[in-house]
Amino acid sequence: MTVFHFFNCAILTFGPHAVYYSATPLSEYDTVGTSVKAAVVYLATALVKLVCLATFLKVPENDNFDPYQELLKAMIGFIDVAGLYFALTQLTHRNISQNHKFQAVGLGWAFADSVLHRLAPLWLGARGLEFTWEYILQGLEANANLVLNLSLAALGSLMWLRKNKPKTLVPIIYAFAGILATMPSITSYLSRGLGWNFPEVVGFELISSLVMAFFSWQLFSACQKPST
């Protein structure tokens, strides 16, 4: 019965990634290689981030929200963006369209993130006898994360790969990319600075990810128009 629960939570956490891959044209163009490369880059980025966090951050003595430390953390969070930049521009991909490239990279990125951050707690916790909503919420959070990462990758591909985009949209793209990149810091602020509960934070993440995905989509299609 508890294994059943674990199975459910795992479906919720990792299912959307698989569905996304098989439902979109990604599967038709066989972009697994790109996703795997992105995942490897994510791992390397995570390692660098870890080293930076360990070097520059003090060990928090209590659970309070320390603005300076959080700012530093947000700065370190931008290493993610650098990693994404690397994955999008520097890696040699098989000849796939930019359209699919950013999706594959975002997918690989989000999947690696989910595996790294959620698989172990899930395995240890969700099989326990005690029932909590935590792992279901965590699965929802993974979904929100997937959407956020895809949006970020989309905006990243707009920023770095697309040359002929409307000039008026450039600052908006950068602003949205900035918001997306600081999203982890915002949620951390909500849960620790404002003391939101986990369900509320997850709700916020879900809604914000959908909103951001909508805007990114609009921006992406707006940039698409002149080229087609």
Binding site: F4, F7, I11, A23, S27, L129, F131, T132, W133
Partner: protein
């Protein structure tokens, strides 16, 4: 046309109701989640009595919680039944135990321990109220449990907020639906405990203290001895909860205080009497005074012959105005008469009534109801002072669940001490029948109520079931030390308990209360997740490839499979 529209509207309303109901169910589910809680539980005793298995035979528990009332004929063999003693349905329990109907487990909730307020209220209202009823229920329950062979784990716990919250939840869900099974979720009670093992050679520890009297000059005869004896161990439904404040904590406290009083008199050669005093704290009381028997058998024959008489103290902590002296020799016997006269003359001054009860010993009967009977069997004159007017049955009044501090009146012990010490002193110093107060209040030899209180409190916190007390138990060393402070010579004697009893360990454990989701919930969740993924899939296919592609996928599943591979 209008009718159709109305039907349509009804359909819409129906669907709204369904959605509202679903939301409510979801909200109800959200309320349920707390973390696992852990509580201390105390296991029902497990023992074999001459080979017959008795008590709870299992320790491990892993079942869903259920609470009364149950539907008649419900199968409870996979339910851990939670029963608060406050509202115990004894007939239900008796029915289940005597008919040997299976339960998954039983958790009995005792009311909060040492609730000062309740104790004060009892004293105001007198004993004749709810708490006394509770006491009777506990007595009955205890007798029921210890004389039955129960093939499932039985635990005691004290009511606290965590358990009460769980119990309320269990009740609520039981009320709403059918009894808890694997499909309705609820709580799971888990005690992971090793298989109980037999205790190897349980020991009985007797402690004896000796105050020697002063021989007169040129007196070559051996001085006579007076013995004061109390058994200190207990027996009850739960070994970890059998503190026995009255049986026989009160006797032990009285013995210690009498020893203290006479040690003050005997420390000065001028006031040392012509009697030796022997103080005996014996073990094995509940098992026909097995420890007393061993102690007497192993003691020196000359010592035994020098004993004029022995006074055993047993249960003297909750009497009002009447105390009983139990003897097995006829009351006309010189020593018995002398002791009884001595006691009753002091009692008259104190306004107490002392009754005398004569019960002959039947040597062929293995049952020894009173401690003095062990002395009498060895032809030593002895009597027991007790508040009980009739001999207790085997394993009855041995300091079980109900016998807690709140039911013991320390003034009763105070008066008992005064009664015994005063009459003894008058006899020792030859003032029989005269109204001379040796231990007068406010004198330096007065009975000390705070000494009595502190020892009573200590004993009321310490479970003392002999097989679970090791030779070096802190309580035993504390008693030894205390007695050695009052007497000249202290001897500790370890004996093994006679083979009729076998005890098993695991007297206390930790109970995990888990909130569990039902299988139905997991099925529903799987359905929801499945439909979510299917929706997501369709949405993605439609947005990225168009509706036609989606339809094509379903139209040609084989080709899809090939592509996927």
């Amino acid at each position: 046309m209008a009718a159709r529209r109305r039907a349509g509207r009804e359909e819409v309303l129906d669907s709204i109701y369904i959605i509202v109901a679903q939301v409510l169910i979801l909200v109800a589910c959200v309320e349920l989640c707390d973390a696992a809680s852990v509580v201390d539980v105390y296991r029902l005793i497990q023992y074999d009595l001459s080979g017959a298995p008795l008590g709870s035979r299992l320790a491990g528990l892993n079942h869903h919680a259920g609470a009364a009332p149950f539907a008649s004929g419900a199968d409870l063999s996979r339910t851990a039944v939670i029963m608060p003693i406050r509202e115990l349905n004894l007939t239900f329990l008796r029915d289940y135990i005597t008919n040997r109907r299976p339960l998954g487990g039983l958790l009995l909730l005792l009311p909060q321990k040492s609730n000062e307020k309740i104790v004060e209220e009892i004293k105001k209202l007198g004993i004749d109220n709810k708490e006394a009823v509770m006491r009777n229920i506990l007595v009955e329950l205890e007798q029921l449990l210890i004389h039955a062979n129960i093939p499932y784990p039985v635990y005691f716990a004290f009511e606290d907020d965590k358990i009460n919250a769980a119990l309320a939840d269990v009740r609520k869900s039981d009320m709403a639906t059918q009894p808890a099974t694997a499909t309705t979720g609820g709580y799971k009670l888990v005690v992971s405990s090793p298989e109980p093992k037999k205790l190897v050679s349980p020991t009985l520890t007797n402690i004896q203290g000796w105050l020697s009297g002063l021989k007169g000059e040129g007196d070559t005869n051996q001085l006579p001895t007076i013995a004061i004896v109390a058994s200190y161990d207990t027996f009850g439904a739960s070994p970890a909860l059998s503190v026995g404040s009255d049986s026989n904590g009160s006797g032990v406290v009285a013995l210690l205080e009498i020893a203290r009083l006479f040690s003050r008199l005997y420390s000065n050669p001028k006031t040392r009497g012509k009697y030796n005093l022997l103080f005996g704290l014996t073990s094995g009381g509940p098992y026909n005074y097995n420890g007393t028997l061993k102690w007497l058998r192993s003691s020196d024959q000359r010592l035994r012959e020098s004993i004029d008489y022995a006074i055993c103290l047993n249960g003297i902590g909750s009497w009002n105005n009447e105390l009983w002296m139990h003897v097995s020799k006829p009351p006309e016997n010189a020593y018995v008469k002398q002791v009884y006269d001595g006691l009753s003359s002091v009692a008259k001054e104190m306004g107490i009534v002392i009754g005398i009860k004569h019960k002959k010993i039947n040597i062929s009967n293995p049952r020894v109801a009173w401690e003095h009977e062990q002395f009498s069997r060895l032809r030593v004159t002895a009597m027991t002072l007790s508040e009980l007017s009739s001999p207790p049955e085997f394993l009855e009044s041995t300091g079980g669940l109900y016998d807690t501090r709140s039911f013991v009146d320390e003034t009763a012990i105070y008066r008992s001490v005064k009664l015994v010490a005063e009459s003894l002193a008058r006899h020792i110093y030859g003032h029989d029948g005269r109204n001379i107060q040796i231990f007068a209040d406010n004198s330096s030899l007065a009975v000390n109520p705070s000494y009595i209180n502190s020892w009573l409190d200590l004993l009321s916190m310490t479970p003392r079931v002999a097989p679970f007390l090791s030779k070096t138990d802190p309580l035993i060393s504390a008693l030894r030390k205390e007695l050695s402070g009052h007497t000249d010579e202290v001897r500790v004697q370890h004996e093994s308990l006679d083979g009729m009893f076998t005890f098993y360990d695991v007297t206390r454990a930790r109970l995990n209360i888990y909130q569990v989701a039902s299988v139905t919930f997991d099925f529903l969740l799987l359905l929801v997740l499945g439909s979510y993924l299917i929706l997501l899939f369709s949405f993605l296919v439609i947005t990225t490839r168009g509706l036609d592609d989606l339809i094509n996928i379903f139209r040609r599943p084989p080709s899809r499979k090939v592509k996927g591979a």
